[in-house]
């Protein structure tokens, strides 16, 4: 078989690897190494890639195994998309315990990065809702892991490095409506953002959009978005995206001018200080899913996402400083997202969320200038005891990874010897040299 090219969502550079596509659970193989499972490829950087190895593509492992309507526990193969889970669950009055900003991720991918959603402050991570999973390793027959088992904790947020998750159980949450009552509130500066977060305890979901290029005395401007499930008792399903970006757009499409224009329009999309509306779950949780392959607007060179968390104990000043640096460098793209993480711990040994403020922001790939800015941001994150999200990363230093993830040593005992990733190879080197794509 000829090797294939695999791209991650940031499209910086493809990994060339053998592809295995098991169509049934019993066809999945954990040998020989080096290998890595791949879900729907929505991780931005290189944690989901393995150049020169074998990628086990799980897309056809998309079957349900059982559903218990009394408890809401769904058991399904790991390649099923959250989109398909919703298609099953919503008409029956159930929803995901928490959802990322896109439905196009697999169950296995959601577990392996222990993803977080807009309700993290209330329900924790995805991994808090996975009572059981089955793991196929190169050094053991397939085994079932339950919450509380060390191997379960290593696999939640385990970056695919503990073996192949063949199936998992997910605790769904009941809903009476597919709609949310939503409020948009304008704010200026991080202290207003924090105040809004704190007074939103009765809102299950909250997040903020900020204009990372905005200047002005009052600080960064933004829109605080909060939502809770509505009483409007309609369980209507989302629709498929109609639009698709069919090829890489020219690199100049996104420039500081067009981004400024977008942000200004976005900020002015309603009048007055607040707006109340009722939104279907799809535009509320997954606004970018209305366009297929939107990552291609960044052009051939691809893009980075920088996502960090600064701990509550450090206050707002590190994040203020991060925003100031990004603004001065004039580099960030649109759709910068701020969110506070709650204190419910995830079982995952390498889970990213920790109580504090998280920022996620895309950056068009401008080569050395972009990497230089990230280095400055890293210093701030490191000094305040924060960390970076591997699912979004293609360049963090091994040092910062080891410093940020204190349970790394414990995790390493559960590594599968046949599994690896480009990210993991970078993290294992003593002094990594960031490669320029």
């Amino acid at each position: 078989m000829k090797p294939s090219a695999f791209h991650s969502w940031g499209r910086l550079r493809p990994a060339i690897a053998q592809r295995e596509t098991p169509a049934w659970r019993h066809e999945a193989q954990a040998n020989p190494g080096p290998r890595l499972a791949i879900g729907l490829g929505r991780s931005y950087g290189d944690s989901g890639l393995l150049d020169g190895g074998t990628m086990v593509d799980t897309r056809f492992l998309d079957r349900l195994i059982s559903f218990a309507p009394e408890s809401g526990i769904l058991r399904a193969e790991a390649g099923i998309s959250l989109d398909a889970v919703l298609r099953f669950a919503v008409p029956r009055g159930w929803f995901l315990p928490t959802t990322p900003g896109t439905r196009q991720v697999s169950l296995g991918g959601a577990i392996a990065n222990d993803i977080h959603g807009k309700n993290h402050q209330l329900v924790g991570c995805f991994g808090n809702h996975v009572p059981r999973l089955a793991l196929l390793r190169s050094d053991a027959p397939q085994q079932e892991c339950r919450a509380g088992d060390p191997l379960h904790a290593a696999t939640i947020g385990g970056l695919g490095l503990t073996g192949i998750i063949t199936w998992a159980e997910l605790q769904l949450r009941p809903i009476r409506s597919a709609w949310l009552d939503v409020e948009w509130i304008r704010f200026h500066g991080l202290s207003e953002f924090l105040a809004l977060s704190q007074e939103s305890t009765t809102w299950e979901h909250s997040v903020a959009w900020i204009d990372c290029l905005s200047t002005g005395k009052q600080g960064t401007r933004g829109i605080f978005i909060r939502g809770r499930w509505s009483d409007h008792a309609e369980l209507d399903l989302h629709r498929d995206a109609k639009l698709r970006i069919p090829f890489d757009l020219p690199g100049f499409t996104l420039n500081p001018l067009s981004i400024r224009a977008f942000n200004a329009l976005y900020y002015r999309r309603f009048r007055g200080p607040t707006k109340h509306l009722r939104q279907h779950y799809a535009p509320f949780f997954h606004p970018l899913d209305s366009v297929h392959d939107w990552n291609r607007i960044y052009g051939k060179k691809g893009f980075y996402q920088y996502q960090c968390v600064t701990p509550t104990t450090a206050g707002t000043s590190p994040m203020e400083e991060i925003l100031r640096l990004i603004r001065n460098a004039n580099q960030g793209s649109f759709l910068a997202v701020l969110k506070t993480f709650g204190s419910l711990p995830s079982p995952g040994m390498l889970s990213f969320p920790t109580p504090g403020i998280t920022l996620a922001l895309d950056f068009p790939n401008r080569g050395a200038a972009t990497l230089q800015l990230f280095k400055q941001l890293d210093t701030i994150v490191r000094d305040c005891g924060g960390r970076l999200y591997p699912a979004k990363d293609s360049r963090m230093s091994a040092d910062d990874f080891q410093r940020g993830y204190q349970r790394l040593g414990e995790f390493e005992r559960h590594l599968d010897p046949a599994f690896s990733s480009d990210f993991w190879r970078r993290m294992s080197r003593p002094t990594p040299q960031p490669r320029h794509p």
């Binding site: 294939s4 596509t21 593509d57 056809f60 079957r63 349900l64 195994i65 059982s66 398909a84 698709r244």
Partner: protein
């Protein structure tokens, strides 16, 4: 009064496209499926999936290539009328290699044509006894014109299309009997796992939804998705002198 369940027998049920059609049926109907295939483990996995979606399922394993297989015994195993007979199995071989071995050529035709014809003939008789129902088989756009890259597979699918045409004629006066040929274009399923993907590929979920739509509406010949009709029209209309210069 609750509607009686929608009852279907599916030959080659483990096909990803067939599975997607069956899931689609469960979204709007209470359903009862008899899943026929050659591998009990796979059929069991599929039955679990469809049961979670709410269908009643039983499974049956059989050798599709054994000419002595008694297909009508399977159909009559369960009493009552069937709403749908779906024939879905198929195989796409590495053609260059297969053409060098007669046994491989015969095998491809047996899987993609002979077994379909045998099963379809049996279903046609069952439909006649029932007086109503739908027979659907999965053909392919590959059957529309012989192309150097896949004419072994394509010719079997062309044979199937003609067979289904004939059955449609045969049952033309029985207005409650429908003969449907589904013609998917390139679909992202295990059959094409090793073929590099292009924007022409559709997902099995999409093809499944459109396939169910065609079965429900009793569309005689349905391209999935519909725009393949125009692509294949253009391919058929291309003069040989030009066509033979392409690598299609």
């Amino acid at each position: 009064m609750t509607k009686p369940p929608y009852r279907a027998i599916v030959f080659g049920a483990t096909s990803a496209i067939a599975s997607a059609i069956l899931r689609e049926i469960t979204r709007s109907h209470s359903a009862e499926f008899l899943l026929v295939g050659r591998n009990a483990t796979k059929l069991g996995n599929l039955a679990d999936d469809l049961r979670a979606y709410g269908a009643n399922c039983s499974i049956h394993t059989i050798d599709f290539l054994d000419p002595t297989t008694d297909w009508s015994a399977i159909i009559e195993k369960q009493t009552g009328h069937w709403d749908l007979f779906l024939i879905a199995h198929g195989s796409l071989c590495e053609q260059e290699q297969a053409l060098t071995r007669s046994i491989d050529v015969a095998h491809e035709i047996a899987v993609n044509f002979t077994s379909h014809a045998t099963i379809a003939a049996t279903c046609s008789a069952a439909l006649r006894r029932q007086g109503r129902g739908t027979l659907a088989a999965i053909g392919s756009v590959a059957g529309d014109r012989g192309r150097q890259s896949n004419f072994l597979y394509g010719s079997a699918k062309a044979g199937l299309a003609t067979f289904m045409d004939g059955l449609r004629h045969r049952h033309a006066r029985e207005k409650d009997i429908h003969i449907v040929l589904l013609k998917p274009g390139m679909t992202n399923s295990p059959m094409t796992a090793d073929i590099p993907k292009s924007p022409l590929f559709s997902s099995t979920a999409k093809v499944g939804a459109l396939g169910w739509e065609a079965i429900r509406r009793a569309t005689p010949v349905a391209y999935l998705p519909g725009w393949w009709r125009w692509i294949m029209f253009a391919i058929r209309a291309t003069p040989a002198a030009l066509f033979h210069r392409t690598k299609l």
